[in-house]
């Protein structure tokens, strides 16, 4: 792919900390290679700010490979930006045009309070997992792995659900700030596998309760979550979660 250079205007949300109000600040960057990732473009901007003696923009990131789920920018009104099935760190500048103005905000959801600039607090997701997103098997309990064959189809579907990276884009994309896609992915993974059967009911009840307690909104089936999910987790999982929840409540 041949490399091109871009000049861009960026409108970035700056917020000193959780208590103070934030606002957009406009920056210019020049000579941005189309081979760069979106975060590398931010590196260039930050280097520019540091050299001017200003504070760089705080943003979350770690793996830069689309797998850790840490990066979390809301770009031009879309969680993780314009590319389908792509995290912010895997978004490359060849998706943009010379002269573009790009607006960058943090995830917006009351359950994900802003910590600083583009960094938000997603610990609510950990709380949901600790309420039930596991199989209660202590180290050493396990039997031989091949004693329990799992139909390939179930294993594949469980894997597809387990691919969720816990980034929170689904919440940010949803007008109700619902966490249903995230929760349903974990519930589905374990409901599809024989290992998950024993705690099937308590799991879904506890996870949904914690989801509500953490202040996430309800699901009104708009499908925005699936559209923005970088791992393309299917809303079919939400249907499964609803069934699981109903069944568990009937017992």
């Amino acid at each position: 792919m041949s490399e091109k250079k871009l000049n861009l205007t960026l409108k970035v949300w700056r917020q000193k900390n959780a208590k103070e109000a934030g606002n957009f600040i406009t920056y210019k960057v020049t000579d941005i290679s189309t081979d760069m990732s979106f975060l590398e473009m931010f590196d260039v901007l930050n280097e520019q700010l540091i050299n001017k003696g200003e504070e760089p923009i705080a943003f979350d990131h770690d793996c830069r490979e689309g797998i850790c789920g840490m990066c979390s920018m809301y770009i031009n009104g879309r969680a993780h930006g314009p590319a389908q099935g792509t995290t912010t760190c895997q978004l490359h500048m060849r998706k943009f045009k010379d002269g573009d103005t790009i607006t960058v905000e943090p995830w917006r959801a009351s359950s994900f309070p802003v910590i600083k600039d583009l960094v938000v607090d997603r610990s609510a997701f950990d709380h949901i997992i600790s309420a039930g997103g596991f199989v209660s098997v202590n180290t050493g309990n396990a039997q031989d792995a091949n004693n329990l064959p799992v139909p390939k189809n179930d294993a594949d579907n469980a894997f597809a659900a387990a691919a969720c990276i816990g980034c929170g884009a689904c919440v940010a994309a949803c007008k109700n700030s619902s966490a249903m896609l995230f929760v349903s992915a974990k519930v589905s993974q374990l409901a599809l596998l024989p290992q998950g059967q024993i705690e099937r009911e308590t799991r879904v009840l506890n996870m949904v309760k914690t989801m509500d307690d953490e202040g996430f909104g309800s699901c009104t089936n708009t499908g925005a979550c699936e559209a923005e999910c970088p791992k393309e987790i299917s809303v079919e999982n939400i249907a499964r979660l609803n069934r699981e929840y109903l069944m568990a409540n009937l017992k």
Binding site: P149, A163, L193
Partner: protein, 659 residues
Amino acid sequence: MTKLNSKIPAGELETKWTKYKSTVPLVNPANKRSIEIIVVGSGLAGASAAASLAELGYKVKCYCFQDSPRRAHSIAAQGGINAAKNYQNDGDSVYRLFYDTVKGGDYRAREGNVYRLAEVSANIIDQCVAQGVPFAREYGGYLSNRSFGGTQVQRTFYAAGQTGQQLLLGAYSALERQVGIGTVTMYSRHEMLDIVLIDGKARGIIARDLVTGKLERHFGHAVLLCTGGYGNVFYLSTNAMGSNVTAAWKAHRKGAFFGNPCFTQIHPTCIPVSGDHQSKLTLMSESLRNDGRIWVPKKKDDNRKPVDIPEEERDYYLERRYPAFGNLVPRDVASRAAKERCDAGYGVGTSKMAVYLDFTFNTMRYGRIEANKLGIQNPSEAEIKKLGKEVVKEKYGNLFEMYEKITGENPYETPMRIYPAVHYTMGGLWVDYELMTTVPGLYALGEANFSDHGANRLGASALMQGLADGYFVIPYTIGAYLSGDIRTKSIPTDHPAFVDAEKKVQEQLDKLMNIKGMKSVDHFHKKLGKIMWDKCGMGRNEKGLTEAISEIRALREEFWKDVRIPGTQNEMNLELEKAGRVADFIELGELMCMDALNRKESCGGHFREESQTEEGEAKRDDDKFSYVSAWEYKGIGSFEMHKEELVFDVVHPSQRSYK
């Protein structure tokens, strides 16, 4: 010179661990409840250790610098995890996994440790499957395997190209379960900045809350460092951006010896550097070498498109040089062979620093098999390709997508361009058989320790080692220490040792903030990376290493005079975090070069140009260098080396051959 005691149990190799387990002192359940353990790190090693120790009844505190323990760098591991299950009936065994690992490591690892690793490997798979880790399966419902480099059996378990993710999410779920029960307290967005020693024993840590910037004191009867590897000393590596040596380095400065610091793994198949803006390099999993063939044009500066270069004008140099292992030679061998071709002028791509990894051959092979399965008579080329593509997609889909996102090229249609990149560090804190460092009560697990992989790690063995350490080794070995500690009450953190340690950390932060220099942290990190890559990378020699040492010293001086860190300490300050890490990397870089200079032989990933065979292979010198170098910190830029001689009772070191 201190005598290093590796505490390898006496007796036959096969019975050492069993005997150890049945005789190690235990801590009774009531006492466990009043013992606190600090686990720094929540990757495979940390999460599995924290969960398993909490299940046993200990009170655990776990730390990570990311916003959630689920994001530890282990999440990025792609290809798979080894285990001696012999599910494929292809002749695998504990002994063979042990042997492959010792040989793959070029005979620079301890037999006792490696044998134990191979022994517990099977339990890891059982444990993970029980947690609901969705490994790849065959149509019959049983687990699927593939091969990795340096072996001739299929013993690698995998979950597409996301094995690390699935294993870590399994360990994370076990950890979160304990958090829910209240036996583990999790401290995310916390960075450990020092170890607290009381009467010579590790008794706690000083950590910085990365949101408020406040320093905190935490007590533990024992401290486990599960803080990962230090590949980012090279600036560009396949590691996550935050991966660092700080925790291990602070421990080193407090008395923990550093083992084999120069043993670095350069992975042969990574996406090449595309420009100065590059912030990290992306691995293309070794599992791709199962189905990809590596080649360069036979002609120099051949600018034709790869698909236009006919078969007979391609040099499949690995298959040519190493017919027995072909594309599946160990990483160090494959990396050097790629460098050799590129240095000789046969490289491809704009930079000419890349080789092709080509899937056409196997795509078509799979396509034909699928066509047969489906009973399609005389399938067309296009049909075969389509069917084959589906198979390849199922195996490596996410990797192919990643490649396309980064390079803008479609690897189903054109070969990948790849080049070696820094990937893993075999070196790390020196530990004994019990995983204890030279500081009593301070342990190191996972990539943070130096054990098990010798001078070169085989693919799919890091995940195995991290989980072995955390699930199946430390829960036993820690008893040997803590059983002597059941009368030690929790030490209040106003103890002078805590006060003093916090004060020192505070002074270091003040010092960094007050430099108010002109250059960014990244500026220094990039400079360090370049020195390390050029002079302590794939090829090393006396002249280069000597120069590197003085260049790094000069860089250290400059850093402490001229680094600029905007903002303040008492808030989230990502530049300050980076600055602390780079300061430690600079000190480590110097030690790595010293270690590389000292080791005049070539072995595994450590290639001293002065020591090679006529065919250009690494030449070991067992008479002089069959030891682990364990370095003691003696003040900035000053280190003393101790040797742990390696004894081979079972395997006989020979020149490695993959021909």
